[in-house]
């Protein structure tokens, strides 16, 4: 049995380690081959970028060597896939190799595409890459006051990020003693301040209490970077002095080029995690088109379900459970307090009042992530 994982991010790494442990006897006996193909020899802890933009984490804290995170049973190669030949059960790589498989897992993730909105890349600060998070950190340090507008593109990775950056900016400016010189203005694409209704019901009065203004049904259409004006699909326009963007995302280019799904998101069965029409191809994380949060937590739980199921296919001949859509997202509500949202396909979240304890749990998780990626937590 040849199992091939394409993608070495959080989903691919947790799944690979999970399978390497579950299938250790079969791998040792040569009955199972477990491979992983990735575009990079480095693994980034992406949630750390939010902290880096505010000067609370440094670039070196975000990375580990990918090989150091993997169980020895995984044949890891840095050689990105260029062609998915699903009818032949094989992929071809940039390095010119062909890898045949019996089971394929696609976990290539998503990427920010600020260029989809005219003027956004030039006019806005963002924190979704190391380079842009560093740029935003420097811009914030030199900012002395004015109107700060938060703009949210769709779809985006980490649904809590718009709220988190807004609350954290409030404390950042307060600590610098210039909060009274800053107007914080939050915009959001739908008719409330967050997609999760219970979270929106909690966040809106918090905005009122902290003096953060907000505007809903606001989908970014274009940015006049010279005139410093943000315009919406709905006909709105907002002046800004500093624009912070949660950019829209697409799936990876290789998914689009291989025509596996619109926008680079692959049609996926939400309980089986199989690609539509392809029972031996699984898709997890941001790569799917499942209507669920694009978040590390989402793929963490998907990887655990899939690990159990693929191991069961090897050992029992069939998968053993359906995925329930579990998500657990921390929500930083400032510099020193946090809450969380936990939900699945059938049960909505019930967020609790923020506490310092949950914030420190998140701080601990920022370090514990590496044990999570190794499949230990």
């Amino acid at each position: 049995m040849r199992i091939l994982i394409v993608g070495g991010g959080m989903g691919g790494t947790i799944l690979g380690n999970n399978l390497a442990r579950r299938l250790a006897p079969e791998i040792r006996a040569g009955k199972v081959k477990l491979g992983m193909l990735s575009a990079s020899d480095k693994h980034m802890y992406q949630p750390g970028l939010l902290y880096m933009a505010l000067g609370r984490m440094t670039p070196d804290e975000l990375y580990r060597d990918q090989a150091s995170l993997l169980e020895p049973g995984i044949d890891f190669q840095v050689d990105p896939v260029e062609a998915f030949e699903l009818d032949k059960n094989q992929v071809k790589t940039k390095g010119g190799k062909t890898h045949a498989y019996d089971i394929l897992v696609i976990a290539t993730g998503s990427r920010p595409v600020p260029e989809m909105i005219p003027g956004l890349a030039e006019g806005a600060e963002t924190f979704y890459t190391e380079q842009t998070a560093l740029k935003m950190f420097k811009r914030l340090q030199s900012f002395q006051g004015g109107k700060v507008v938060v703009a949210v593109g769709v779809p985006h990775k980490c649904p809590m990020a718009p709220l988190e950056i807004t609350f954290m900016l409030h404390d950042y400016f307060k600590d610098r003693g210039i909060r009274d010189k800053v107007q914080l203005h939050y915009t959001y694409p739908i008719g409330r301040v967050h997609s999760l209704e219970p979270v929106a019901k909690w966040a809106q009065p918090e905005f009122d209490r902290l003096g953060i203004t907000y505007e809903t049904l606001f989908n970014v259409k274009e940015v006049d970077a010279k005139g410093q004006v943000l315009k919406s699909e709905e006909g709105g326009a907002v002046k800004y002095d500093l624009l912070v963007s949660i950019p829209a995302h697409k799936g990876m280019e290789v998914i689009e080029k291989n025509k596996l799904g619109a926008g680079g998101f692959i049609p996926t069965d939400k309980t089986k995690l199989t690609m539509e029409g392809r029972p031996n191809v699984y898709v997890i994380g941001d790569t799917t088109n499942i209507p669920i949060s694009k978040a590390g937590s989402t793929v963490h739980y998907q990887a655990e379900t899939l690990g159990e199921n693929i191991a069961a296919i090897v050992k029992l001949g069939a998968p053993v459970r359906e995925h329930d859509g579990k998500v657990f997202c921390f929500i930083e509500t400032g510099k020193d307090r946090a809450t969380y949202a936990m939900f699945n396909y059938t049960t909505p979240p019930d967020p609790k009042p923020p506490t310092k304890a949950v914030h420190w749990f998140k701080m601990a998780y920022n370090k514990l992530y590496w044990t999570s990626a190794r499949g230990l937590l």
Binding site: M116, V154, P155, P159, P189, I190, G191, S195, L196, E197, L217, N219, E233, E234, G235, A248, K250, A262, G263, P291, I292, S293, G325, V327, A341, F343, Y345, T346, P348, P349
Partner: protein, 76 residues
């Protein structure tokens, strides 16, 4: 003949049916028809309101066995 794209957002709490629709429309062509399936009754009001505000054409909004089917044509 316009393509009808189905966005199955049944049981989606986050990002939810309207956000799923907005996301899918970004990758659709002008003239495409998009149908959202939602089990959130709020969608029956939220989605038509947004469609009208942005200027797309609402084709239908009906409930069938607890599932809302809301269809629109992308006009821009």
């Amino acid at each position: 003949m316009a393509e009808r794209i189905v966005v199955d957002a049944r049981g989606s709490f986050c990002p939810g049916p309207l956000m799923e629709l907005i996301a899918r429309l970004k990758f659709a062509s002008v003239g495409d028809e998009v149908e959202v399936l939602s089990t959130d009754k709020g969608s029956a009001a939220d989605i038509p309101e947004w469609v009208k505000k942005v200027g797309h054409e609402l084709l239908e909004a009906r409930e069938d066995a607890g599932v809302w089917h809301i269809a629109l044509k992308k006009l821009k």
